[in-house]
Amino acid sequence: MGASTLQVGARVRLAAEDFQQLLEVLSGRGYQLVGPSLEDGQLVYGELARVADLPVGWTTIQEAGTFRLQPREDKALFGYGLGQQSWKQFLWPPHHPLWQIQREAGGWRIIPQAEAVPPYAFIGVRACELAAMAVQDRVFLQGNFVDPTYRARREQAFIVAVNCGPRQPGTCFCVSMGTGPRAATGFDLVLTEVVQGEAHWFLVEVGTARGAKIMGQAPHRAAQPVEIDAADRLTAAAAANMGRVLDTAGIKEMFYDNYEHPRWDEVAARCLTCGNCAMVCPTCFCHTTEDAADLSGVAGERRRRQDVCFTVDFSYLHGGSIRTSPRSRYRQWLTHKLATWIDQFGCSGCVGCGRCITWCPVGIDITEEARAIRETAATPGKE
């Protein structure tokens, strides 16, 4: 089964032992492979060389404020959930130099940051993460101003998505947000991993012409209906096994009508305003710039870095900050995510990945907060 011509939409079977070859086709095409691996007991996204770098045979146990890695009984490559990192760190680097500045006769001159952006191939992107990219596309690519850093990375990136299979229910709720567990769009290739006894293979669906070319060079054969059916059942089982639910009906109006709801005080009493939720969120895009000059005052630079709306400084205006209370800052984050985002970008800012729940050190659960407000809303949200 050498090179063959595949069409967009084609479904093929890739044996688990051939997965390495898919990676090699990608790196042979010049892609820099990025994917999940275990590092110091953490599930992280980083450079990937071979299949063995993946968290083979591991799964994740997630609850509010809890994250555990646990061995699986099988050797699944993608049997884990999400870690704290997301692909945004590659598409939109959290620390990024923008330009240098140099004094010269009669003033100064700015030297824009020159950079070579590697073409990334992301291996193991979940449906919710694809949705998060689509959300960030609206922010960085579809407004009046296009962010060149994001665009350079995003346009080149090759995406190998993975549909989620059944796991122990955790903190995620993609079904509520309509973003998963099956990847519907936004990928070059999407895998469904099937482990049945000794059988271990992938159903691969081709999403783009680019994906078809790559897959055509990896060993595969056409998938049989029974195989497609087996893969679909796994995704359906994942959908039926969500750990969290978020009712999104009329959610914007619900939050707009409840800015003074007592629940904000209640959650603020628990919130540490640490900003973990915003840092792990795959859609949060807020950032700040930092200007510096060297001691001689001859050269300087501007850097951009990820910022979170939980700091008092975030809303600082001469004389003081707008959002001084923890209540107002938590409210800003949550209402931005679930309500104002809809007015700003025409979609929710939440994709239901559950990271903010898992990585909150005090276990604040976005679905629980939304439910608490809905259940005792001053004015019920309208459909």
Binding site: L98, W99, I101, R103, G107, W108, R109, I110, P112, V139, F140, G143, N144, F145, D147, Y256, Y259, F285, C286, H287, T288, T289, E290, D291, A292, A293, G297, G300, D307, C309, F314, S315, Y316, L317, H318, G319, I322, R323, T324, S325, R327, S328, R331, Q332, H336, A339, T340, D343, Q344
Partner: protein, 279 residues
């Protein structure tokens, strides 16, 4: 309006042509652009991100005449590291400019109406280009009234120009201060009180309001009690800003990005958010 400058994220060096001290902590800078940006077109109410070498950037509204784009004018109050560095610039030194950004005062749409320009404190700076426009096209507008309040007479911006405007027959200027000592012969009292002196025909009037939040809230209430509808009132908002192009998230105000949806908003569109605290 799109940026005049090549890359909206990279400051273009402008040369300080003149620095004029307005009050104890406020300065007006006249800037000249490089050849490529010699004519800096902007609309009244828009702002630029001004960059002082090594210190950083601050959003500052443009306070010059839109009909004279060869000189870029900014009035800056020294309230922090960046604005202090800007205020200390001398003639011949360079200042980085990104912009112009933001939604302007809709002056062209207001033709045929009476226009109230209501400013508090430094709020006269972003309104001055609007007033220049009205005066440049004076015959297109009805009655034009300037209502300006400041803390003390020493805090009034552009005092000589205020005198010149006061001397015009086609413009009425009402000035008040919160407290005065010495030889101030003008009005003392809050700015909302002198709105009563303005002459305007409520159904065909627009009010352009810029000042501190408290001042704007009470001004809007006063205007509405005098028969203006929310859609006849425009306010200019201020927020922390880092990028100026709606990406950094700092200037969020409920569903709005003040940098790109504002800073000028029609009041009826932001009314729900205007009264909310810590948003």
């Amino acid at each position: 309006m799109t940026s005049n400058l090549p890359d909206p994220m990279i400051p273009t060096p402008f040369v300080v042509h003149r620095v004029k001290r307005e009050t104890s902590d406020t300065y007006t800078l006249d800037l000249k652009g490089p050849e490529a940006a010699a004519n800096f077109a902007f609309a009244p109410g828009q702002f630029n991100m001004l960059y002082a070498f090594g210190a950083g950037e601050a959003p500052i509204s443009i306070s010059g005449d839109p009909a004279r784009p060869e000189t870029l004018v900014h009035t800056v109050r020294d309230v922090g590291n960046v604005t202090r560095a800007i205020c200390r610039l001398k003639k011949g030194e360079r200042l980085g400019v990104r912009g112009p950004f933001g939604a302007p005062w809709p002056v062209a749409q207001l033709a045929g109406q009476d226009v109230l320009i209501i400013a508090g404190g430094l709020g006269l700076a972003p309104l001055r280009p609007a007033l220049y426009h009205l005066l440049n096209h004076r015959e297109e507008y009805g009655n034009v009234e300037v209502i300006y309040g400041a803390r003390t007479p020493k805090d009034l911006l552009y005092p000589k120009e205020l005198e010149r405007w006061r001397g015009r027959f086609d413009l009425r200027v009402h000035i008040t201060v919160d407290a005065s000592e010495g030889d101030w012969r003008g009005s003392v009292g809050v700015v909302t009180k002198i709105i009563a002196r303005a002459r305007f025909d409520p159904p065909s009037t627009a009010a352009l309001v810029c000042g501190p939040g408290v001042m704007m809230r009470f001004t809007v209430q006063e205007l509405m009690s005098r028969g203006l509808k929310p859609e006849q009132i425009y306010v200019s908002m201020e927020r922390n800003m880092k990028c100026g192009v709606g990406l950094c998230g700092h200037c969020q105000w409920g569903p709005f990005f003040v940098c790109k949806d504002g800073p000028v908003f029609r009041y009826d569109r932001v009314r729900d958010w205007f009264e909310r605290r810590e948003v």
